[in-house]
């Protein structure tokens, strides 16, 4: 099991870590017993993701995937963000070890869930 350089870069220097105090959308996926918990905080304005931050308890892959996901959607519309798939994130990172593809690749789920909750709260779904 070996991580790509890109994974290691995002793991060692994760982008957008932390939380947004008055976030417009928040979601948490995973649970500690699986070894991965990812929480996403979004600042949305005019359907654009103006800011995004994450908190992750998890392995190197989980942290890198979280970081990469935030990077990929920051400044994008929420529609674009909803189209982002786990696989796209993994590809952008140069791939993930097979064993990590499912369990640790939860960031897109957190992102989607946050946006969907946001839409629902705004009566748009």
């Amino acid at each position: 099991m070996e991580y790509t350089e890109k994974v290691m870069d995002h793991f060692m220097n994760p982008r957008n870590v932390g939380k947004i105090e008055n976030a417009d959308a928040v979601a948490e996926v995973g649970n500690p017993s699986c070894g991965d918990v990812i929480k996403m905080y979004l600042k949305i304005s005019n359907d654009i993701i103006e800011d995004i931050k994450f908190q992750t308890f998890g392995c190197g892959a989980a942290i890198a995937v979280s970081s990469k996901t935030t990077e990929m959607v920051k400044g994008k519309t929420i529609t674009e963000a909803l189209e982002l798939t786990r696989d796209q994130v993994a590809n952008e990172l140069g791939g993930l070890p097979a064993i990590k593809m499912h369990c640790s690749n939860l960031a897109a789920d957190a992102l989607h869930q946050a946006i969907k909750t946001y839409l629902k709260e705004h009566g748009r779904s």
Binding site: M1, Y3, M8, F11, M12, P14, V17, G18, K19, E28, P32, S33, C34, G35, D36, V37, I38, K39, F54, Q55, T56, F57, G58, C59, G60, A62, I63, I99, K100, C103
Partner: protein, 396 residues
């Protein structure tokens, strides 16, 4: 900065004396020990000397030692082959193994359970200790073998193998112990402990990987796993791993000589390390810390962070440690051993790191590792949703 290796329980470098002992066997001493000619006889003589070294290290005679490919082979051989010793071969098909055994016992026993053996997995308490009354209670009419390791590879907990052997023998049951992490590290004399079978491995004691030795008590027979040639007195077929055998003999001999010193020196390092981590880094817990433990091993859970992330960051900064055992690196499940200690608290199990010290560990490494660790744990907690939640709760 040279790297700092704190994963001696996973494997060890080959020590110079062992390397020197090997060299002639990479060169002129190449014969097949089964060959009758001079080339063969020379190697055979050296091989028997190595067998004597291994035997002496555990207080037995050379004939009691069978060389093989490692502790995995030894353990599987015992589990699969023990029953032949009983007239009641098929009848004695109940095994008792602990829940903290190495995967080569744990998984093999699970497999055997699927195949029709009866298997009892003995639980341990939150310190990793095994209760002897629970063990006694687990014994049945048809119990054939009890297998409990001498030293656990993840926590370092030492099990009361002498007492377990006695309990087994009182009930006419065979006792096996996986001493891969014990032989050469703590006193281990088969005359005192009286096990029926003992497994050892070379690469835990500064010999190469892929060599092991199995002790078989006089009068006990094991069905060989590898059949064919007459090697190892018909107890293990296949041309012998001579380089490994020579190395293991030398390594075990030296290990026993240096044991008392190592115990003191390495133990002091480990204790200092542990002391500092537990006091300087909050929300840490020693796994198995209150049990009788070997001096080399420290297993610590760092709450709110995941072990692999810690391990990776340490590695990046030149420090090699491990989460769970190396053998379980093909899975994402938390170590079954740490789980057994954590009363099912999987978060804690996911947060554990094993630090294992050895002959080349130096005092100067301790502060380097502790401070790096403190930094890394703080970083990771800095964006851990679990830590955040914990802080909120503290406040609230």
């Amino acid at each position: 900065m040279p790297r700092i290796y704190l994963d001696y329980n996973a494997t060890t470098p080959i020590r110079p004396e062992v390397r020197d002992a090997i060299v002639p066997f990479l060169n002129e001493l190449f014969g097949n020990p089964s060959s009758r000619h001079l080339e063969g006889r020379h190697v055979k003589t050296k091989m028997e000397a190595a067998r004597a070294q291994v035997a002496a290290a555990i207080g037995t005679d050379p004939e009691r030692i069978v060389f093989n490919a490692g502790a995995t082979e030894g353990n599987v051989t015992v589990l699969r082959g023990y029953h032949i010793n009983y007239k009641e071969k098929k009848a004695r098909n109940h095994l008792i193994v602990s829940t903290v055994e190495h995967p080569c016992i744990y998984e093999t026993a699970k497999k055997m359970a699927n195949e029709g053996y009866e298997v009892t997995f003995l639980p341990v308490n939150s310190e990793g200790n095994l209760d002897l009354d629970t063990l006694s209670a687990a014994i049945k009419e048809n119990t054939g073998l009890i297998s409990v390791m001498t030293v656990n590879n993840e926590t370092g907990v030492i099990y009361p193998v002498k007492e377990i052997a006695k309990i087994a023998h009182d009930r006419g049951i065979l006792f096996h112990t996986d001493a891969a992490q014990a032989a050469g590290k703590i006193p281990f004399d088969v005359k005192e402990i009286e096990p029926d079978f003992v497994t050892m491995s070379g690469h835990k004691i500064y010999a190469p990987k892929g060599i092991g030795a199995l002790y078989i008590k006089k009068g006990r027979r094991l069905e060989p796993l590898l059949t064919g040639g007459h090697q190892e007195n018909n107890r293990r077929a296949g041309t012998e791993n001579i380089i490994g055998i020579i190395a293991m003999g030398k390594a075990l001999e030296l290990a026993v000589q240096e044991m008392a010193n190592d115990r003191e020196r390495i133990g002091a390092l480990r204790d200092e390390f542990e002391q500092r981590v537990l006091t300087e880094i909050p929300h840490t817990k020693r796994n198995g810390g209150a049990a009788n433990r070997i001096y080399t091993t420290s297993n610590i859970s760092f709450r709110f962070v995941e072990g692999e992330a810690v391990q990776l960051k340490l590695d990046y900064h030149g420090i090699a440690v491990s989460t769970g055992s190396a053998c379980s690196s093909g899975t994402l499940d938390p170590s079954h051993v740490i789980m057994a200690l954590c009363n099912g608290d999987e978060e804690e199990a996911h947060s554990s790191i094993r630090f294992s010290f050895g002959k080349y560990s130096r005092k100067e490494e301790v502060p380097v590792v502790v401070s790096r660790l403190a930094e890394i744990i703080a970083q990771l907690r800095g964006f851990s949703p679990l830590y955040d939640k914990f802080l909120q709760q503290q406040k609230g």
